[in-house]
Symmetry: C2
DNA sequence: TTAGTATAGGACCAAATATGTCGGGATTTC
DNA sequence: GAAATCCCGACATATTTGGTCCTATACTAA
């Protein structure tokens, strides 16, 4: 629970891979899949989804494949996850949804809605570029923590 | 994905309910289940889990039931979720885990580990007491909706 | 001491979701 | 036109979740 699906993982990995090879005009689904040992057909579909959502540009034919539709800095992890898994809510019954009709139950939702926003916020603040630059042993003490404290 | 299981939801609701009835020495699983329309036997097991993890105190026999083991302020949503669903990681391959052996794949993990910590942090900062005080009719107009609608 | 009310927990099933595969079609390049 | 590639719906499998059932045990009160 509270974890990304493999599809989302794969998608992020693929985008990261593309971001790391800006020189190449396009990479085929198969190339990326092989690079990571991901089932090719599955990755293909994921990349198709990302294309449909405007995060990638695709090109059929020989030497075809996928390329980032925008600069890696302009694509957030949030967008990727959203494109692949659809909108997510930490609780099933976020306000506005028609769940929770039977039960006047979910008095839980209100505070958790804010958790939801916080998570979305963090994910939005992470770009594909951030994923590609994985050599940053420093710089991680403070940042995120601040965020958290704030929103509550 | 990225959402709480129903069990965790139920658990939070139940604790909230207990927090709202500090007067009563104990509430049975059935009472709580009825209050929210939750399957009684399922909730029973959830409460058993919470008891095993020290968040509740249980008492068998007539007029038995469950009560918070500590002040509602001292029980975080994080603990509840952890007790019910076990440790969660946003990625399957958090550093330190032995996953990702086959694939040198998950270069993704490092940045997402921080997301994970952030989420944990937020959840730790929310207490059962916070859930119980649900009367905050103001301050909720915009938030969630904007998020979702926009990004899609 | 016994009947009734609870918790404790194992085994199991059903439903939902996630993961992965297959096969046919459409595009582009050579 | 052949090869490489994207596109996409249908299907099959695996895993997780949600929920039930049954039995045992503990406690209370009459």
């Amino acid at each position: 629970m509270l974890k990304l699906t493999k599809k989302a993982d794969y998608g992020l990995m693929a985008l990261k891979y593309l971001a790391e090879h800006p020189d190449l005009a396009a990479l085929s689904a198969k190339e990326v899949a092989d690079a990571y040992g991901i089932p090719a057909q599955l990755l293909a579909k994921i990349l198709q989804l990302l294309t449909k959502h405007g995060l990638l540009r695709s090109h059929a034919g020989m030497n075809g494949g996928y390329a980032l539709a925008r600069d890696a800095r302009q694509i957030s992890a949030y967008e990727v996850i959203l494109a692949i898994d659809g909108p997510f809510f930490i609780t099933s019954c976020i306000k506005g949804a028609k769940s929770c009709e039977l039960t006047p139950s979910c008095t839980i939702k209100e505070p958790l809605a804010r958790v939801n926003e916080t998570i979305a916020g963090v994910l939005k603040s992470i770009s594909i570029q951030d994923l590609a630059e994985h050599e940053h042993p420093a710089k991680r003490e403070t940042d995120t923590q601040g965020l958290v404290a704030l929103t509550l």
